[in-house]
Symmetry: C2
Subunit: 478 residues, 2 copies
């Protein structure tokens, strides 16, 4: 029995008797104790909770444990997360127990941690998006205001099934620049790429089907496939693309329905497909009648030619997907996919049935930015800035003793580790420097623990990141 | 063999040999002929097609047939629909056959007709939304601009899993006014109510499950349940709510998983639940452990008290849903649902997995309009205007010899028919007056033909609607 005392910001000492011999997980014990304190008004409405680091230190638990407990208490309404300032006791008692409210699944794998409110004190070094300060604030705000003054239909009306015609016309031109021949009638807009994946999984796959996924890879794809009870076969991602030997063996043995792949700036490793691997991959796909779903959401981080399966594909075997969430706005939720007409018809039907289409307003905003060139200019700026940050970070990582999976030539991510350090050790150190990591296990298709980290280069030059990266790279004390 | 000749706007006579003895449906023959004409450049790029009415008359086919053919040609890229002016031959040949492109499902039940581009010449008397000119144009445009100048997070960042906290706080207050006790932690935002229904169906039901639906009812719910292979048992909608005798018999015989219901201003009949039926319904639900999904998207068209199941429910048996698509904007896609915490957690997880949440921007816009009172004022204006239009239309329908299912005391819809006239006859007449109807069959759970029409009162005073309604009500020539 451990009995720690801690003063809250109101100087009330907190005694939270955690039992480390109990079968009840520590995070649940901590959550229960905090709820009891609030319920008994020992922590009064409006009181500020200790910082994650402070509570973790005083209770001798991991910061992850505190984060999870606070998140559960926010979810159940006992705590409120206030932007940039921390966690506070809610003004009103929610009248429900915390165990009834865990709005982010039983998995508890930390996947959604970066999306929750209330961790603004921490630098999200592992997150999958660019800082707001990097974004095309003026261009987007202008486009929004322009649409607000334009055709009232865009403010009020439903969107047609395939998406707004003017946006699809712009996308058609953009795709032509990438060497992908797709008329507007072959393009379907979606709420970002994840929505596109959901439509595809629901349309193409049934529970029990087998598919190929890259490993490591996009955790939300894994979540989606698991949710749909689809069996995943992992293909290791090498620096040149998916491991072809494994792929070939799995194709022969399991006849999977499709392969999900990032060609360019793969998430999380930052690797890109080489032309040689791409050609062989398409050959194998033809031989085994494999469908390929190419998720190309990092496309615009690349200037000039790149190796893409949809560009090489002459048989409509590749379903191409992209989005504006990474390069323009994650808030607007605009993405799209390109597929053969028969499949597109089924996807459009499902899109209508499951939500009556996408947002006409958001699509008009993006369409205008594509049409007036402000999108093009803003991604040019992003590319330069990301390139500079990537180069600097790769140098710093090397100097500090980190190991990188590859040296990406662009994009947002570096996949890196420190030989000899596991995730728990890295996370402890990160939180000491107010840095929040995303566990490498989130990028494993089975959630297996990993010492590798996805580092978002856009946050790499922040002083907190710098301190953590320097510190973590030093040899461990013996 | 019928051989009609017709001049296009370029005065080119069109010979479209339709074979009425063929097993090929007329709509497909018409589509094929038009495609051939375009392909052979007998109709040149940019040429305007005849109006729907003109082509229908000259070819001796129904207007529905022409509408469907034009829609297919737009979908496949052979035609372009230009806002308000009609259909034109596309500038660029799409290089795919029309039969490959029908992006709105095989059903062909006309459900999505009102959502497609290109029928702006016609008055959509059967549609499910208010005219743009009725909407809160100033208030919404102002809110949009305010958000564009506010916190950059709202322009750029992802939304938390449950939805934007500030919006959920406003929704909590709004629900309290309706007598529904639901803290923000029990509210999940969605992309409109249809998305909420989709999340619920995916979470609560499995293929083969049985549910109760009101009949007539919301066609997209039927589509969704069919898509999910859920078996529907129809409960006739009476003027007082669902028929309790049928409901009780179905509960006893089939043990359905849940009931989907509109309490207020039911779509399409305009009827509202009486207190007596509501109490008995909840009693039956308790006896048979039935879950109820109350879709209350017309809630704000009612001022003051109304009978709602979620208000009466003390057991969290009712899942409550609503949206801003009808009262504010269908373009922004903002809705929400209220459920017990355990279910809400599963729904939030699915919401993230299937699309990484909703649009933070759109939720901030709606949240601001709720907070600053502009939403409240705009729905007050809508209520008054709808009330006036409803009263006038009901008088006109009676005078013209129409029969109404009930005289709704508010909302958008009247469910009406002309004794002795079937849908085909009504549709023919409607198109002569440039009015597009939604077939009554769309509101039947099996798509059975119906002579009843959903009339959207907001369009009822348009001169085209007036001419049609007057004309249709007259005794048929013997």
């Amino acid at each position: 029995m451990l009995n720690c005392s801690l003063k809250t910001s109101e100087h009330l000492p907190m005694h939270l008797p955690l039992d480390r011999t109990s079968t009840t997980p520590l995070v649940q014990q901590l959550t229960d104790h905090l709820q009891t304190w609030i319920d008994q008004q020992r922590l009064r409405p409006g009181a500020r909770l200790p910082s994650i680091r402070a509570l973790a230190r005083s209770q001798g638990v991991s910061a992850s444990c505190v984060i999870e407990a606070y998140d559960r208490l926010v979810a159940s309404g006992w705590l409120e997360a206030r932007h940039g300032t921390g966690f506070f006791v809610a003004e009103r008692k929610p009248g429900l127990a915390v165990e009834d409210a865990q709005p982010w699944g039983e998995a508890g794998d930390g996947s959604w941690r970066q999306f929750r409110e209330g961790h603004d004190e921490l630098l999200k070094l592992g997150c999958g998006w660019l800082p707001s300060s990097w974004r095309a604030a003026t261009g987007l705000a202008q486009a929004v205001r322009q649409v607000s003054r334009g055709n009232p239909q865009d403010l009020f009306d439903y969107c047609p099934p395939l998406g707004l015609a003017s946006l699809r016309q712009q996308l058609h031109k953009r795709l032509a620049q990438l060497g992908i021949a797709a008329g507007p009638e072959r393009i379907l807009t979606t709420y970002g790429a994840s929505h596109g994946l959901d439509l595809l999984v629901r349309t193409l796959l049934r529970p029990g089907d087998t598919v190929l996924v890259e490993n490591p890879g996009y955790y939300n794809l894994y979540n989606l496939l698991r949710q749909h009870q689809v069996r995943m076969l992992p293909v290791p991602r090498t620096v040149e693309g998916p491991c072809l030997a494994t792929l070939e063996a799995l194709l022969a043995a399991h006849k999977p329905r499709c392969l999900f792949i990032n060609s360019l700036y793969h998430n999380p490793t930052g690797t890109s497909l080489t032309p040689k691997v791409a050609y062989r991959l398409l050959e194998l796909a033809r031989e085994h009648d494999l469908r390929i779903i190419e998720d190309d959401i990092y496309a615009d981080f690349q200037e000039g030619p790149a190796t893409r399966l949809a560009t090489l594909d002459s048989e409509q075997r590749v379903i191409y997907m992209a989005s504006f969430s990474k390069t323009l706005s994650s808030s607007l939720r605009v993405g799209y996919l390109v597929a053969d007409p028969a499949l597109l018809a089924r996807l459009a039907e499902l899109k209508m049935v499951s939500g009556i289409g996408t947002s006409r307003f958001a699509e008009q905003v993006v369409g205008q930015m594509l049409a007036n060139g402000s999108y093009r200019k803003s991604v040019q700026r992003l590319r330069v800035r990301l390139g500079q940050h990537m180069a600097r970070l790769l140098g710093q990582l090397e100097q500090a003793g980190w190991q990188v999976f590859c040296e990406p030539y662009g994009g947002m991510f570096v996949w890196a580790c420190v030989p000899g350090r596991d995730f728990a050790s890295l996370e402890r150190l990160a939180l000491e420097h107010d840095v929040l990591l995303t566990p490498g296990s989130a990028f494993d298709y089975q959630g297996t623990a990993s010492a590798w980290l996805r580092i978002n280069v856009a946050y790499g030059q922040d002083s907190r990141a710098q301190a953590f990266l320097q510190h973590a790279g030093r040899p461990l004390p013996i």
